[in-house]
């Protein structure tokens, strides 16, 4: 009883260092414990709230683990066919140019089946934000090889490890879109430490501001983990990501505005 009163004293609005964003719906997340999707959602929700964009946001969810994005973000959302989110976003932004339009896509969706839509939306310089969560694997369908799966990395369709001689090389989609004239800001971030969360949030805030200024496509890759698909604990998966993913997918800006 005494303890409860003590807690009540502590949990007061002025003492809150952290709260759930109002743009984040109070639903149980379908993501596995330790997965980076939840954190990436939170960053996006916080920014939509902080920048007062809730009434002006239209998001597009992909096919993949984040297909149910519309269960978690309290904004208008369209669910796209596999890989086609940038095509939807193109039309939405052209028809409603004053709205904030973003796609949220995984590596299978964006870098395999949706390669054409991704490249051409970026090449046209569509004034949209593409958030690309890259965990090197197909999570939702049960851990199959993705276009971004590292050389030698095991998955359910590369059980002996990815043999690049027969299975192709891991695709650096972010590097490709950085070479296109239509992209304005291209960066690769992660959300596995508080410092990286802050950096990703800063990058995303910049991208949203650039969209207001009609500057072209902004593209943010979030290199993430997949504890279930990689068959590791969350802690192990983050360590593995640092040791293996980051050397091939180095964090940092790939294209920044010349200002």
């Amino acid at each position: 009883m005494k303890e409860a009163t003590g807690l009540k004293e502590i949990i007061k609005p002025e003492n809150l260092a952290y709260r759930r964003s109002e743009v984040l719906v109070d639903n149980t997340l379908s993501y596995c414990p330790g997965c980076g999707h939840g954190t990436t959602h939170r960053i996006l929700a916080e920014l939509i709230e902080e920048l007062g964009l809730q009434s002006h946001t239209i998001g597009i969810s992909p096919v993949g683990c984040s297909v149910l994005l519309y269960h978690y973000l309290d904004v208008d959302i369209q669910q796209a066919a596999h890989g086609r989110a940038p095509a939807l976003a193109t039309a939405i932004k052209r028809l409603l140019p004053d709205r904030f339009v973003f796609t949220y896509q995984g590596d299978g969706d964006l870098a395999a089946i949706g390669t054409a839509e991704t490249i051409h939306a970026c090449n046209r310089g569509e004034n949209i934000l593409i958030i690309f969560v890259n965990n090197g694997i197909y999570g939702m369908t049960g851990g199959q090889m993705a276009p971004t799966t590292l050389s030698g990395m095991k998955s359910s369709t590369s059980p002996l490890g990815r043999d690049v001689r027969t299975m192709g090389n891991p695709l650096k989609m972010t590097d490709i879109v950085a070479t296109l004239q239509g992209t304005y800001y291209v960066t690769r971030q992660s959300v596995h430490t508080p410092a990286n969360v802050r950096k990703t949030k800063k990058a995303m805030r910049k991208a949203i501001e650039y969209q207001k200024l009609n500057r072209g496509t902004c593209f943010i890759e979030v290199v993430s983990n997949c504890p279930s698909g990689w068959k590791m604990t969350p802690v192990e998966s983050n360590k593995w990501m640092e040791a293996n993913m980051f050397p091939f997918y180095p964090l940092g800006d790939l294209k920044t505005p010349a200002e």
């Binding site: 809730q54 009434s55 002006h56 946001t57 239209i58 597009i60 969810s61 297909v67 149910l68 519309y70 973000l73 309290d74 904004v75 208008d76 959302i77 369209q78 669910q79 796209a80 066919a81 086609r84 095509a87 939807l88 976003a89 193109t90 039309a91 939405i92 052209r94 028809l95 409603l96 709205r99 054409a116 839509e117 490249i119 051409h120």
Partner: protein, 356 residues
């Protein structure tokens, strides 16, 4: 304002009618024999005059998904293509049907299968009226038989699409797309400024968020949704059947044909009657919903029905279902991009039903 008289190709008429009907967006990809639609719109540059967005997409797949995105915002959006391109769009069309989005898709049909040829055909009937992509769904399918129809059906399509939240397909062919005729064009209507309550336009505080999706992982929910879709199709079938009759009153033999074949068959009816054969023609204007009831009524008082289509015989199955064995039904049609002649139709009518 008066209606304006112009001489136009069918493809051009669709494009001009789209601008005048207040369409918000067109998303296309070049393919013969319908590229004039995109070309005409690019030349007309309606973005400057009405704000209509016209975009050449990187593929048919991207174009139909742009239509999904625009339709999800409650905008009047459309795409057009020809047979191989429509096959590519089928995934997107299934999603659009599943998300119950209104839009217009135009198919200026060419002969297939595969790359086939660029000449006109009617071999996409099954794909158009039975679904086309995966899952249980129907499009509302309109079959123009003239350049005038091409122009008039644009506005009709959007009226039906928004009334039922359902995609509408104009099933044309290379002949109607390419030929020139006089056409009366309606005055330009302004683009809509109000949007349906379900549209994703940004969530104001006054309402819950809008979600456009075709996903329901719960089988019970998905089955319930399927029942709702089927109820909608039943309602459409009840209200929206359209057809045209030509000398059916005293007919002993009935021709059933749509689009280009219906034009050919009008002449066949004349030739048959000149030869003492009382033929009549029923031209379905909607292929889904199909005028089954009317065909059954006429079928019960004629000696034979000849279904004429530029295909191996697709619509003939629906004609057979309509009369359910009451009267003999035969099919005739040329394939591969060859347009049937009126004389050939009369010959077949004699051969199948009269002898000699």
């Amino acid at each position: 304002m008066e209606k304006e008289l112009r001489l136009m190709k069918g493809n051009e008429a669709i494009a001009e009618a789209a601008i005048r009907a207040g369409v918000d967006g067109y998303f296309g990809y070049p393919i013969t024999p319908q590229s004039e639609i995109l070309e005409y719109l690019m030349e007309a540059n309606p973005f400057e005059s009405t704000g209509m967005v016209v975009l050449q997409a990187e593929s048919e797949v991207a174009a139909i998904n742009m239509v999904y995105g625009g339709a999800g915002c409650g905008k009047k959006v459309m795409t057009s293509s020809s047979s191989p391109g429509i096959s590519l769009k089928q995934e997107g069309i299934s999603y659009i049907a599943g998300a119950e989005l209104p839009c217009l898709i135009v198919n200026v049909v060419r002969a297939g299968p595969g790359l086939g040829t660029i000449q006109p055909a009617q071999s996409d009937y099954f794909q158009s009226v039975k679904g086309g992509g995966h899952g249980d769904y129907h499009l509302i399918v309109l079959a123009p038989a003239s350049v005038q129809d091409m122009a008039d059906f644009v506005e009709l399509s959007f009226d039906l699409a928004f009334k039922y939240r359902n995609p509408v397909l104009i099933l044309s062919d290379g002949a109607i797309g390419q030929m020139m005729e006089k056409v009366y064009l309606k005055p330009r209507k302004p683009r809509a400024t109000q949007f349906p309550a379900w549209a994703t336009t940004g969530k104001p505080e006054s309402r819950k968020r809008n979600i456009i999706t075709s996903l329901d992982l719960d089988p019970n929910g998905q089955e319930e949704f399927n029942h709702r879709l089927q109820a909608k199709y039943a309602e459409i079938s009840k209200n929206e059947v359209r057809f045209e009759e030509f000398q059916c009153e005293d007919a002993e033999y009935l021709l059933v044909a749509y689009g280009t074949s219906a034009r050919v068959c009008q002449k066949s009816v004349q030739i048959a009657r000149d030869n003492g054969i009382r033929a009549g023609l029923l031209r379905p204007i909607t292929l889904f919903p199909f005028p089954s009831k009317r065909i059954s009524e006429i079928g019960s008082r004629v000696k034979g029905i000849l279904s004429v289509e530029m295909s191996a015989g697709q619509m003939v199955e629906d004609v057979m279902l309509a009369v359910n064995g009451k009267v003999p039904v035969k099919h005739f049609g040329r394939m591969g991009g060859i347009v049937t002649t009126p004389e050939e139709v009369v010959e077949k009518l004699k051969l199948f039903f009269i002898g000699g």
